[in-house]
């Protein structure tokens, strides 16, 4: 069963065409990676899926529902969550407050103004639970701007998970991380996405091959190949497209 699929997506920026007839299929429960050389259109496709852009042509379906023109907040309510490539946490708020916003949203506490949020026990408990899962409980109450880069990335992923999405989309979650940090991040992502569907864009092939069940390769705006990590590793076309960029 496909949880997400796109139907003939085309996209152009002021005449510059970046996507041609992309039919992406993501099965329920799988960890799906989108890879490709620079300029292949990965980020554009990602932004179309997550509601930042509207495609020039084609449709996006999530759980058989047309979400082509849906706004980000509507997608979240349908059960999608996303992280950002450029760290996009609330820098003046603490990790606790960052995650709590996600929890509030998940529980539908969106316009409540008659109770103090600090007094909402269930919310606090659930927030703390997530903080522990992303190893940020120790830094619960310091501003996010004071966290290390790696910790901020964890928070970023934690926020994507806080709304308890069925489909998590991660935009280069390990960008800019050291080897050790990357290894920890991969572990964290593996743990957090247990039993969920995940779509990930990633440059680091080690991360891709250790996380993904299935891979879609984009090149020059078109889907070049879809398959298991093993199949992609052996695919001659993919190797050619990367022209040695990827050591497979």
């Amino acid at each position: 069963m496909n949880i997400l699929h796109t139907n003939g997506i085309y996209h152009d920026f002021k005449g510059l065409e970046v996507l041609f007839d992309v039919n992406l299929e993501v099965k329920e429960g799988e960890r799906h990676a989108i890879i490709g050389p620079n300029g292949a259109g990965k980020t554009t496709l990602f932004n179309i899926i997550t509601g930042t852009y509207c495609p020039s042509k084609g449709k996006v379906f999530y759980k058989e529902k047309d979400i082509t023109t849906a706004k980000p907040h509507e997608l979240v309510r349908l059960g999608m969550g996303r992280s950002f490539q450029i760290t996009s946490t609330f820098s003046l708020l603490t990790p606790f407050q960052n995650i709590r916003l996600g929890i509030l949203s998940k529980r539908g506490v969106r316009f409540s103004m008659f109770r103090k949020v600090d007094k909402m026990k269930a919310i606090t408990e659930e927030t703390d639970k997530i903080l522990r899962r992303v190893n940020l409980y120790g830094e619960r109450d310091i501003p996010a701007s004071a966290l290390s880069y790696g910790k901020n990335r964890s928070l970023e992923v934690g926020m994507a998970m806080a709304t308890d999405p069925d489909l998590v989309t991660l935009d280069e979650p390990t960008a800019g991380m050291s080897r050790d940090e990357t290894r920890n991040a991969v572990e964290l992502i593996r743990r957090l996405t247990e039993g969920k569907t995940m779509v990930i864009i990633e440059h680091d092939m080690d991360v891709v091959f250790s996380l993904a069940d299935r891979i879609t390769v984009l090149a020059r705006g078109e889907i070049l190949a879809v398959g298991s990590p093993g199949e992609i590793r052996e695919n001659q076309e993919v190797k050619d497209a990367y022209l040695g960029e990827m050591e497979v």
Binding site: T50, K71, P72, H73, V76, R77, R82, F84, S88, T89, F90, S91, L92, L93, Q97, R100, L101, G102, L104, S105, K106, V109, R110, F111, S112, M113, F114, R115, K116, V117, D118, M120, I123, M159, A162, T163
Partner: protein, 332 residues
């Protein structure tokens, strides 16, 4: 951290001073205090946008003046209108103005937001100036009856007595300020701070940013209207030059910056500082705003967190010193 006992003592002292104020300082300063409380609430409502939501409004006089005019006109036109409904009319009218302008305001931020609010503020100014049948034009609306605070069969207090009005106004303004403070502590209040830091992310967490902003405008505008209503009652006169000029819109920005943009109480400090400054300067020169302007510039340049930030630094220093002392005592 301040411990509980000191906090209680502080509150009791403040309360005692506030209660005995009219007896000690006389009518003139009693009215000055009411003016301070009005400006403090008005500034708090602006800071809800500026400090908490990250939106700089150049047209907040629309709400303050709107509330003042609504209350004044209602008291002029409706015979026997009681006190509290009159104030409520001011607040609700301002909230309605916020509601009407919000579909446009929620779409923009930054400089465009500032300019759009400026345009709305100016529109209101021009309307009130031109539609003299209702608003009295340049002369404004004045000399309307100030109803007593009346609960049938229980009590009826004359509000033309400055001391009585002082207690009444302070109660209304104090409760309003408390509601605003409470609002910042609610879930919606935390979403508001999220919008300030990163509106896009708030959207991606599943919140409707425009709707949330609209509610914030409604609350900010409504309470600014209540501040305006009390102002109308205090002055018994409302005019375009008094409550609708750009100066009226800039005033709470200045108090908020001087008092401290980063804290809830900052605008209250700022209003106090400006009122005191005003009282001192007027004894020397007519050019009060020259000094205010210079102070404002200096604060932006050298103390961007304002008076509240300054207090924070003092507190920190005091804390670290007492901390060092306990440490030394422990070592010896």
């Amino acid at each position: 951290m301040m411990n509980k006992t000191t906090k209680w003592i502080l509150w009791i002292v403040i309360l005692a001073v506030v209660i005995s104020f009219p007896k000690i300082f006389g009518i003139y300063y009693t009215n000055v205090f009411v003016l301070f409380a009005i400006f403090a609430l008005y500034s708090l409502t602006l800071n809800l946008l500026l400090g908490f939501t990250g939106l700089l409004s150049f047209g907040h006089a629309l709400f303050f003046g709107g509330g003042a005019y609504a209350t004044a006109i209602a008291l002029t036109r409706i015979d026997g209108l009681p006190l509290l409904p009159a104030i409520l009319i001011g607040g609700l009218t301002a909230a309605v103005f916020a509601l009407i302008t919000s579909p446009l305001l929620v779409r923009v931020s930054g400089t465009a937001f500032a300019m759009l609010t400026l345009a709305f503020g100016q529109l209101m100014y021009v309307f009130c100036l031109k539609f003299r049948d209702i608003t009295g034009g340049e002369d404004g609306v004045g000399g309307f009856p100030i109803p007593p605070f009346h609960i049938p069969g229980v009590v009826s207090i004359d509000m033309t007595d400055p001391a009585n009005f002082y207690y009444f106004a302070l109660a209304v303004l104090g409760v309003s300020a408390w509601i605003l403070w409470f609002f910042t502590k609610t879930p919606l209040g935390s979403v508001m701070v999220g919008i300030r830091d990163n509106a896009q992310r708030v959207d991606y967490l599943g919140f409707k940013v425009p709707h949330t902003k609209a509610i914030i405008f409604l609350i900010s505008g409504g309470f600014a209207g209540i501040a305006g209503a009390i102002y109308a009652l205090l002055q018994d006169l409302v005019s375009t030059d008094g409550v609708l000029t750009i100066g009226t819109s800039f005033m709470p920005i200045i108090t908020t910056i001087v008092g401290g943009i980063g804290s809830f109480a900052g605008p209250i400090y700022g209003a106090a500082i400006l009122i005191i400054l005003d009282e001192i300067i007027t004894t020397y020169t007519e050019r009060v705003e020259l000094v205010t302007g210079v102070v404002f510039i200096l604060v932006i340049m050298y103390a961007p967190m304002g008076f509240a930030g300054f207090l924070g630094v003092i507190k920190q220093k005091w804390l670290s010193r007492s901390f060092a002392r306990t440490k030394m005592e422990g070592a010896s």
